[in-house]
Subunit: 210 residues, 2 copies
DNA sequence: TAAATATACGAACGAACGTTAGTTTTATAT
DNA sequence: ATATAAAACTAACGTTCGTTCGTATATTTA
């Protein structure tokens, strides 16, 4: 019976990962105890240490998973050039879709929330956030706007300014959701967020179209 | 000698307040122990309880101070009407100045950082942030843009959209500073932030001017 | 089937936490 | 000078924390 059950359910290590993520994303890393994780998994706290070196190793595993998922979900660089020729409208649409795809699984949504929380407390996560989720996207959008200007698709406004105009709103929406409204219904929030994003890109487009 | 020194320095309660704020803003509320506060003040931890009921009461006192400071620094509603007639440029300038004034003392700067951190963990602070620092300003700016449209000073774009366009950038700058770059030099950050804000309002103005 | 490995357990560790109790010192008011 | 009140002290409380140890029980490998 034990053997049969064991094969039907997820491995313990994965269950520790999932339950930890669930708790961390709700309460933050420090506020969750190893005993609490063990209780949720259904084992004793000492058994946790058969699967992870210590508590921090669980957090590290989660962040590693996050980085890998992000790396495999990004739009390939080469496609950009071809997309730009179809005009800014198409690009904004694809851009929005890319960001949504990155939070589209319950697991990733929880990690986003966790990363938002721990950015305050964890230096490693903070640096990652700043570099990969803020500076790198800004740089990418600057490049895109620069290309659009070169191709005479939009007015010659400072591309860095445009990148901030576009992307600061994305950050704002993340902030609004993951920090201020996380408890609320994801579907209805997403509907509202998409509407806000549409208004934003329409306004931006109106301002820079030739 | 003791008496003389005592009268020259701040009262103990105030020193507890100041040191707590200093530590809280650096490490977050939970990460700071009562012993640590006492050590910084230069008394035993039990003496803290002669001045504050418990640890949470210190945090409450800080938040109360913040609310009072914010309430007394806001621009009076009546002035808005007169300012609007001078055109959007003036209004953006005054608006930016108002926000800067609200973080212009070292004490207030620390509390902003603390509020940013604890918004994740403290339900009271979160509700305050959402209502008073996000929804209320957005509502205010919507009203302002609405008036500008009525007075034919700007194009008739949806005023709510304009409010988000303007204010999401302010939130973004707060986020960038208080969460991601807090350690860095305030002066140099503020110079850069002001430049970004100027670019932002210039872009916005260009897009909506009649 | 026997040996080896993986995984679970109960019990305990040392340290840190917020807080309280009782007592002594210091400052103020009569 | 003496009584009162404020504010400091020492010591300890009961909990919780992350982690380790030795051991028992499954599961896998030889």
């Amino acid at each position: 019976m034990n053997k049969k059950n064991r094969t039907l359910q997820k491995p313990t290590k994965e269950r520790i990962f999932d339950e930890s993520l669930d708790l961390f994303s709700k309460k933050g890393y420090e506020a969750v105890s190893v005993r609490e994780i063990a209780r949720e998994v259904g084992i004793r706290e000492s058994s946790i240490y058969n699967h992870y070196k210590n508590k921090e190793a669980i957090l590290d595993a989660i962040i590693d998973y996050f980085k890998i998922e992000l790396a495999t979900s990004g739009t390939p660089q080469e496609d950009n050039e071809a997309l730009i020729d179809q005009g800014p409208e198409v690009f904004f649409e694809v851009g929005a879709k890319t960001y949504i795809d990155r939070i589209n699984t319950p697991k990733m949504e929880k990690i986003w929330r966790l990363v938002s929380i721990e950015t305050y407390h964890n230096e490693k996560i903070k640096r990652f956030f700043k570099k990969e989720l803020l500076e790198e996207p800004i740089r990418g959008w600057e490049e895109i706007f620069n290309l659009m200007i070169e191709k005479n698709l939009i007015k010659p406004v400072n591309p860095r300014t445009l990148a901030y105009e576009y992307f600061s709103f994305v950050i704002y929406l993340f902030f609004e959701y993951f920090i201020l409204e996380y408890d609320e219904d994801f579907e209805s929030f997403m509907d509202l967020a998409l509407e806000k994003m549409t208004n934003h890109t329409e306004f931006l487009l109106q301002a820079i179209k030739v």
